[in-house]
C-alpha cells in the first residue's frame, strides 16, 4: 500500500510526477466507483421505458439523455459498463492465468514441448485478435459467457509469449541456481522464486490486456456477437444509438465517451507503470 501511494509523489531523481499513472488511477478509479455504486443505485432503472421521454438530449434530469425507448442513457451506461468490465476482467483472468502457466512452464523447461507450444502460439498470434475471437465465438456460439471465454482464450498466446520471454531471462540467474542447488523443486522455483520477480512486466501487460479486452468486447458486441440484450453492453448500445445519429446525435456521445474513457484509463495506467520502474 505504501509502495502504491509512493507512486503519486514526485520522482526524487527527475523531480517529475508520473502524470500517466495519476490520470490513469483517477479515471479508472472513477469508473470503477460509479459501476460499484451502480450495483445498488442508478438514477433510473436501466430497463424502465418511458414513451413520453424518447430520444431526449442532455439535461439535468437525464445527464446523458434518453434512448429510443425512453430509457435513461446514463443508467444504461452504468449497467453496460458493468458488463463490459466484467467480461474484460474475466478475459484478462483467463488470458493472464493460462498464459502465465503455459509461458512459465514452456520457458523454464524448454525442449520439444516448448518448440511445439510456441509454434501454436505463433500460429495464433498470426491472427488479428478480433478475428481470433470471432473464430472462437463461432465455435462456442454467441452470448455473454461465450464471448468472455472466446476473448480469454484469444488473449492466452500474447501473455504466454511475454511470460516465456521473462522466464527465459531469469532462469539462469544466480538466485535460481542457488534455489536449484538447495534442492527446491522446479515448480516451486517457477512459481515462488521466478514469478514474483516478473510481476512488474506482468502487471503492465495486464493493464494493456484490460485496454484491449474492453476494445475487443465493445467491438464484438457492436457487431451484435457479444453479450445479448437485455444484458446490453456498451458496444450493443452504441450500435443501437448509431441508428438515431440523424435525429439525436448526442445519443451516441455519452456511450462512446464512456468507452473512450475506460480505454484511456487503462492505457494511462499501463503507460504509467512502464515509466514507474
Amino acid at each position: 500500500m505504501k509502495k502504491f501511494l509512493s507512486m503519486f509523489k514526485k520522482n526524487k531523481a527527475t523531480g517529475k510526477r508520473n502524470t500517466y499513472l495519476i490520470m490513469g488511477t483517477i479515471i479508472t478509479g472513477l469508473i470503477v466507483i460509479i459501476v460499484l455504486v451502480g450495483l445498488f443505485y442508478t438514477p433510473y432503472s436501466p430497463t424502465k421505458m418511458d414513451s413520453s421521454a424518447k430520444l431526449q438530449g442532455f439535461s439535468f434530469k437525464h445527464i446523458m439523455g434518453t434512448d429510443h425507448m425512453g430509457r435513461d442513457v446514463f443508467s444504461r451506461v452504468v449497467y453496460g459498463s458493468r458488463i463490459t468490465l466484467a467480461i474484460a476482467t474475466f478475459t484478462v483472468l483467463i488470458g493472464a492465468g493460462l498464459g502465465t502457466i503455459i509461458g512459465a512452464i514452456t520457458g523454464y523447461f524448454g525442449g520439444i514441448l516448448d518448440e511445439f507450444t510456441m509454434r501454436v502460439v505463433d500460429a495464433m498470434l498470426a491472427f488479428p485478435s478480433i478475428l481470433l475471437s470471432l473464430v472462437f465465438v463461432s465455435l462456442f456460439g454467441t452470448g455473454t459467457y461465450q464471448v468472455a471465454i472466446a476473448l480469454g482464450i484469444s488473449f492466452v498466446p500474447s501473455f504466454a509469449r511475454i511470460v516465456r520471454g521473462e522466464v527465459l531471462r531469469c532462469k539462469n540467474m544466480d538466485y535460481v541456481e542457488v534455489a536449484r542447488l538447495q534442492g527446491v523443486s522446479d515448480l516451486r522455483i517457477i512459481f515462488v522464486h521466478i514469478l514474483p520477480n516478473i510481476t512488474g512486466v506482468l502487471v503492465s501487460t495486464i493493464m494493456i490486456g484490460f485496454n484491449n479486452a474492453v476494445l475487443a468486447e465493445a467491438g464484438l458486441s457492436f457487431l451484435g456477437i457479444g453479450s445479448q440484450p437485455p444484458y446490453a453492453s456498451l458496444g450493443n448500445m452504441l450500435s443501437d444509438a448509431q441508428s438515431y445519429l440523424f435525429s439525436r446525435p448526442s445519443y451516441v456521445l455519452g456511450i462512446g465517451a464512456t468507452i473512450v474513457l475506460m480505454v484511456l484509463g487503462f492505457s494511462f495506467l499501463s503507460e504509467g507503470m512502464k515509466r514507474w520502474k
Binding site: 505463433d122 498470426a126 491472427f127 465455435l139 452504441l238 445519429l245 480505454v263
Partner: protein, 314 residues
C-alpha cells in the same frame, strides 16, 4: 536467397498448422451439417444418403486431406445456407475489404512517419508534448466510434458524403474510393498514433548511439544524420509494427464495414457465424490467415533488405 527460402518454408508450415486447427475445430463442433441442410424434412435414410455422398462417414484425417487439397486448388466448398460455391460468394467482396485495408495502411504511413520524425526531432518541445497527449487519446478511440463521429460531422453536418451511399467499384471506381476515405481514416487513426509513438521512441533511442556521434563528427548536419543514418535503423521496429497493423486492418475493416454500411466480407462473415454456415467461415478465416502470413513474409524480406545483418536464425 537461403533466408527467403527458409521464411517461405516456415510460413507454409504455420499455414499448415492453422489449416489443421481450423478444420478440426470446426469438425468437432456438435451439430451435423446434413441435418442442418434439411432441417425438419430430414429422414434417417436421406441423412445417411447425403452423408455418404458428402463423404462425412470417412475418418477425420481423410476428410481433412480432401478438404485441404481441394482448398489449395481453389475449391472452397459449398455454403450450407445459400447452396452456392463459397468461392463465388466472396470473390467480389474481397477487393472491397482489401482496398479498404490498403487505403488505411497508406494513410497510417502518411500520417505517422512525418509526425513521428517531427516529434522526435523536437523532443520535449511544446508541439511534442501536445502531440504526445493527443496521440495517447487517439489510441483510446475505437475505430467504430470515430467512424460514427465522422459520419456525423462529414455526412450530416457538412453533407460531404452520403451515409450508406456506397457505390460498387464495378460501377464507379472513383466514387467507390471516395466513399472509402472516411472508413480508412477511422481504421488508420489509432494505428497511426501507435506508429508515431513507436517511431518517435525509436528515433530517440537510435540518436543516442555511438554511430550517430560518429556521423556528426564527420561533419554531417542534423538532417543529414537523421535521414541518412538514424532513420534507416529506427524504421526496423516500426516496419514490424506496420506489418502487424496491416494484418489488423484487414480484420479491423470487418467492424468498420458495419459502421459505414460497406458490403465487404464482413456481412457474409457475420451472418455465417450467426447461422453456423461453417464452409463460409472456414474459407474467410483461412483467407485472412493466408493474407496475414504473406504480409509477415514480406515484412521479413523487407527487413533483410534494410538490415543485411539479420541472419538466418536456427
Amino acid at each position: 536467397m537461403r533466408y527467403i527460402m527458409k521464411k517461405v518454408l516456415s510460413m507454409a508450415l504455420t499455414l499448415f498448422v492453422v489449416s489443421i486447427c481450423v478444420f478440426f475445430a470446426f469438425s468437432l463442433i456438435p451439430g451435423d451439417p446434413v441435418t442442418r441442410m434439411f432441417g425438419t424434412q430430414a429422414t434417417p435414410e436421406l441423412i445417411e444418403q447425403y452423408r455418404q455422398k458428402m463423404g462425412l462417414n470417412d475418418p477425420l484425417i481423410v476428410r481433412y486431406f480432401r478438404w485441404f487439397t481441394s482448398f489449395i486448388q481453389g475449391d472452397f466448398g459449398t455454403s450450407y445456407d445459400y447452396k452456392v460455391p463459397v468461392a463465388g460468394m466472396i470473390a467480389e467482396k474481397i477487393p472491397i475489404t482489401l482496398t479498404l485495408a490498403i487505403m488505411s495502411f497508406v494513410m497510417m504511413v502518411i500520417i505517422s512517419i512525418p509526425i513521428g520524425i517531427y516529434t522526435a526531432k523536437h523532443e520535449n518541445g511544446i508541439a511534442d508534448h501536445i502531440l504526445t497527449v493527443i496521440n495517447q487519446i487517439i489510441m483510446a478511440i475505437p475505430p467504430f466510434f470515430s467512424g460514427i463521429i465522422m459520419t456525423f460531422i462529414f455526412g450530416i453536418v457538412f453533407k460531404l458524403f452520403k451515409p450508406g451511399g456506397f457505390v460498387s467499384y464495378t460501377k464507379d471506381f472513383w466514387g467507390f474510393i471516395e466513399y472509402l476515405i472516411l472508413p480508412a481514416v477511422a481504421i488508420a487513426l489509432p494505428k497511426a498514433a501507435m506508429a508515431t509513438k513507436l517511431l518517435r521512441g525509436s528515433v530517440i533511442d537510435e540518436a543516442a548511439k555511438d554511430y550517430t556521434r560518429t556521423a556528426y563528427s564527420r561533419g554531417n548536419t542534423t538532417n543529414g544524420v537523421l535521414y541518412l543514418h538514424v532513420l534507416k535503423n529506427a524504421m526496423i521496429p516500426v516496419i514490424t509494427f506496420m506489418g502487424m497493423a496491416l494484418a489488423d486492418m484487414v480484420a479491423g475493416s470487418i467492424v468498420i464495414e458495419q459502421v459505414f454500411g460497406i458490403p465487404g466480407i464482413s456481412r457474409i462473415l457475420l451472418t455465417s457465424i450467426n447461422n453456423r454456415d461453417y464452409p463460409v467461415v472456414e474459407t474467410i478465416i483461412m483467407g485472412i490467415a493466408t493474407m496475414v502470413l504473406v504480409i509477415n513474409l514480406l515484412v521479413d524480406i523487407i527487413y533483410r533488405i534494410i538490415d543485411p545483418r539479420i541472419e538466418v536464425e536456427d
